[in-house]
């Protein structure tokens, strides 16, 4: 047990932070929702009703989709794009998918390589792209969920005060959907871009997200 905790401490700490953050988001969101109910002269709803509502759903999904888009694009674009001096980047001149020998696949796989890395054909293709496929699928799924929860919340606001509701198709072309989408995308792209360039010149001793403190600014693709 102690070994499990120690070996998985990074993911466990982030899991705990996620659970705490989403719990307190629900608390704050429930309070805001009922404040809005007061403004409309409508009755309060319970915490349980709020966290099973589209109002909470869209608030969660619009953030999740942008996070998974961030990772999807980061995983994909770092195959071919480089940033000189950044630990987030491959070394200059190593753009592309890499050779089988470098990627330890097929005949070049080791004894402890994952089974599908040793395989050939479709299975290896899938495994070679599994990170992108899963991240991308989660992004698409959560973006779709944002659209579904978003149109419900949008239409509930339309009905008070007595305005026309819209279809899902109309909603995904609406300013409301794209404002929610793009406000999240811009922050994700800024964060990744900032990290890529700031890590060229700044250091955090001990973090694999940073170069070693004494590494030169032009050193690319090295970890601390």
């Amino acid at each position: 047990m102690r070994g499990f905790l120690k070996h998985n401490s990074l993911s466990l700490v982030f899991l705990c932070l996620f659970i705490a953050a989403i719990f307190f988001q629900a608390i704050a969101g429930h309070a805001v929702f009922n404040e809005e109910q007061d403004r409309h002269g409508d009755p309060h709803i319970s915490f349980g009703s709020y966290i099973t509502s589209s109002a909470f759903g869209v608030a969660v999904m619009e953030n999740w989709q942008s996070e998974y888009l961030q990772f999807t694009l980061f995983v994909l674009l770092t195959v071919w794009f480089v940033q000189r001096g950044s630990p987030e980047s491959k070394e200059l001149g190593k753009e592309g998918r890499g050779s089988d020998k470098e990627q330890l696949v097929g005949e070049d796989a080791r004894a402890d390589s994952p089974r599908w890395a040793r395989a050939s054909g479709v299975r290896r293709r899938i495994y070679e792209n599994s990170l992108l496929l899963v991240m991308g699928s989660i992004w698409i799924g959560t973006w779709f969920a944002q659209s579904i929860t978003g149109v419900t919340e949008y239409n509930s606001e339309q009905l008070d005060p007595q305005e026309e509701t819209v279809s899902w198709l109309h909603y995904v072309g609406s300013a409301d959907f794209w404002e929610k989408t793009l406000q999240n995308w811009q922050s994700e792209f800024l964060a990744v871009g900032s990290m890529a360039i700031l890590a060229v010149y700044l250091r955090q001793r001990g973090s694999p997200e940073s170069k070693p403190v004494g590494a030169a600014h032009h050193s690319t693709g090295v970890e601390g």
Binding site: G41, S54, G57, I148, T149, E153, S156
Partner: protein
Amino acid sequence: MSSRATLATALAIACLAGVGCGADEERDAAAVTERFYEALDRNDGRAACRELSATTADAVEHQEKAPCHDAILRLDLPRGGVAAKSRVYLRSASVDLAGGGIAFLEEGPAGWRISAAGCTPSAPGRPYDCELEG
């Protein structure tokens, strides 16, 4: 993810969105609307006022300077009506009448109640014009 798990996840998301899992709520909203218009049709102001939200009932009394059960019968509202289509989004609903017109409802502790009735479209993108609203 297995196909069964994928379907379950999609249904859960749809339920969260209030889509496709609100058939009971749509029926409830339609029933309240039909009871309201049936009460007007038999000139039963008290029964009609029971289907109104508190805010809307107060608004009627304030507007007509009379108790709700009297005031409601003075308004130019359709008498009788069959619900043709209901839409429920979270705690708001709209019910189209088969003979034309639309009613708006809100869900409170006592269930669905009429918040606006006798509504007809105004200019595109603008709220409906309603004979009765809270």
